[in-house]
Symmetry: C2
């Protein structure tokens, strides 16, 4: 029997993450994002309900202007305010048993020495349940928040990212040997000096002496997520990532993408199965198909197309607010943005998609509408296409997750599409059966590399 799917709640420490306008639903509580209790109670519900991960997206700046201004983002709560996800992790970890906790962090926002220390501390605090989504920041405002004039060009960002992960790999895998911390009260030996090493990293952007300040944690390197869809991003993921987010328009498209990416993984010297793919989907559930469709139509009344356009524009680098909704996307996209709109052309294969399509499909393309049985049928097709996990996008918090747990997961368990019960252990163990990276991963090269 194929492996059960893994389920991640795809959230952000903000009000309006993906389904813009849904915060205005009467039952929506995502406006409570400033409250720690809001996140703790969601995590407890996910943990008990059988979710494998809670995944926090993140940004460190505004999206590109919409109609020449950032007004729309503030007015609609489009990822502003957005709070730091990393500092609420420990509260979620303390309240839960098995839930993996993934956070996003950009190479732009934190020096790798500090970041490595933070993640190692969290790996201890979560007992190995932390995961990192590596990003390079697509927002010019983000770069201007950190002293740059503008966004660093794409391929240069990925070269930078390669050095960034090299530094943290050295700290996580190479600086401390296992058994370096006997804490022997009788001998008076807290740490074994011969087993702790400086890394002396010297690169284009970073010089880091070390040693790492944190002793080996359950996973050492956290479970590594990555979402890049550009050629450089996919090469980076093929080399480094253990899980990748995809937004395929169909299981067939996913099958092709996965086969192609597994080829890149093999080219990078890893096993093709070393990467697990998480498809992003949202769900509208009914006890009948009719009820589900009615609920889906009601939801549409809340979805804010203009904010959806503003968000979509951020990923293609054009201010779409100046264009009529019927404008063909071919007229607005730039050379560099073509790959980031591939999903749209795949979703509208029979004609040239418009700005309106772009806005609407960002909310509807990923939406699965039906009874729990129908949803299970759909998820079976995604699993058969090679998808290993589902990133569950919400309309409301906690409603969307509560409904999925109550109505869909039992159906999935019956079919072997979801694990029969929550699985203990580290984040990596949930995907690979191991606590530490395998020897094929580039980080493994730093094991034992810094001995005297």
């Amino acid at each position: 029997m194929p492996r059960p799917l893994r389920f991640a709640a795809f959230v952000m420490n903000t009000t309006s993450h993906i389904t813009h306008g849904a915060w205005r639903l009467p039952e929506a509580r995502q406006t409570d994002f400033n409250s720690l209790e809001h996140w703790v109670s969601l995590a407890v519900e996910l943990d008990r309900g059988g979710f494998d991960f809670v995944f926090f997206a993140d940004v460190v700046g505004l999206y590109a202007d919409h109609r020449g201004s950032w007004e729309k983002f503030v007015e609609s709560g489009l990822q502003i305010p957005s709070n730091d996800p990393s500092v609420i992790v420990s509260a979620l970890a303390h309240a839960t048993e098995n839930l993996g906790i993934a956070i996003t962090s950009s190479i732009l926002q934190e020096h790798p020495f500090n970041f490595a220390r933070k993640i190692s501390t969290l790996d201890h605090a979560t007992r190995g349940r932390i995961a990192w989504n590596i990003v390079t920041s697509l927002s010019a405002n983000a770069w201007r928040n950190f002293g740059y004039d503008d966004i660093t060009p794409h391929d240069e960002r990925y070269a930078w990212a390669e050095e960034y992960v090299d530094v943290v790999y050295k700290l996580w895998e190479g600086s401390w040997e296992d058994d370096a911390l006997p804490q022997d009260k009788v001998r008076g030996v807290h740490g074994e000096f011969d087993r702790v090493h400086k890394i002396h990293h010297v690169g284009k952007r970073y010089r880091v002496e070390g040693p790492h300040l944190v002793a080996p944690s359950p996973q050492r390197t956290p479970l590594l997520f990555q979402a890049g869809s550009s050629p450089a991003g996919r090469r980076f993921a093929a080399r480094n990532a253990e899980a990748q987010f995809i937004s395929s328009p169909s299981p067939d498209a996913a099958r092709d993408l996965i086969a192609d990416t597994r080829g890149l993984v093999a080219e990078a010297g890893r096993h093709p199965d070393d990467l697990t793919f998480f498809q992003g989907l949202s769900f509208v559930i009914g006890s009948t198909e009719q009820e589900a469709r009615r609920r889906s139509a009601e939801l549409d009344e809340y979805i804010d197309d203009d904010t959806m356009v503003a968000h979509a524009a951020g990923s293609i680098g054009v201010d779409l607010g100046h264009y009529d909704l019927d404008t063909p996307v071919g007229e607005v996209e730039s050379e560099g943005s073509r790959s980031s709109l591939r999903w749209l052309r795949e979703a509208v294969p029979d004609r040239e998609p418009t700005v309106r399509d772009l806005a609407r499909l960002r909310s509807r393309n990923s939406r699965v509408v039906g009874t729990p049985e129908q949803i299970a049928d759909v998820l079976g097709r995604w699993r058969d296409a090679g998808v290993g996990g589902i990133n569950v996008i919400n309309y409301t918090i906690p409603g969307s997750y509560r409904e999925f747990i109550e109505h869909v997961l039992p159906q999935l368990r019956q079919r072997g599409l979801a694990a029969p019960e929550p699985e203990p252990g580290t984040a990596r163990r949930k995907l690979t059966g191991r606590d530490r990276l395998d020897d094929r991963h580039p980080a493994a090269a730093y094991r034992g590399a810094f001995g005297r």
Copy 2:
């Protein structure tokens, strides 16, 4: 009646913080620092027991070499490993009601845009109970972990620190107006664009566009601690800090230091009482004086003089491991270190102190030994000298705090030296009666400064 003293548990996310060797005591649990539960249970005990703060010291590198090596630090657990304190705060906050939580963070380790966001997120998560101890990093290894050849000279560090706090003040106080986040579902207005502002900071080291990514939190600017004892450090504290750590050898010495520093505070345009002084002390308690003295002598058998010397050397920039313990400190100190050894000359006023004095007094100088009544007598003298709070240094965790809560605090409450019950509210309210900074503080200048 004078105000009751405030009590902070002075800890570090490491095994051996100040009283080196004490980790080998049979009942010592500070070796469990990697465990989140270790810290949560301590925080709960402090919160219920009537402590006002838990304070985390921190470093981001090794101390200067001891006998030409960092071997001693690893072997004795002298602040290595040391975990990131900031990421465990939310778990502590979620488990406690009133406890203030202070963390140390250096201007070296994190970009101010990211740091401001992290702290604001924590201020929301703790409901206003977060405090920040501003430091500039004294360790050359720390600077080499962050790409520098060596430590930045002292006065330049403080100029840098002034720009750093300017950036975060602008983000905390000036970027968002109050009432900027109506989250009005009916009108569809999540945020009021006219009340959110970019800061456009341009300085010597930083360019930060903004806006701040986090909406106004209970305190906005966290309660500000600072510990500098050099002239530049004291000027910085006089301008910025709301609480300052001191390590005076006696209440009389503290009285002079406090009067002098209050003068600097007034010169900086603030009220002399805007700064609260926390004296660091440790306690050995007995039901009789004899029992307390016996316990103190037993403790001394565990204190590791060589590690105490290694730690002390870090603050004066000389490798004392090469010197005999009877060497007068005058022969080993450098010009730049003279001010940091002032405490030692004050503690040994009648002769030239030696390296042995330096090591021993770092453990004994701050030690108060006696019955709860005798300890209350001593603390009354510190309070009468103008000290506003006590930083309680531990020998063992949780033992030292448990004993203080069980035996000393009841005695202090009877005398009005401790608050009758735990006080609710923000960290700042505990010291000043206010949630937000007063108008005299330099950060207040940025309120309303960035309107359109």
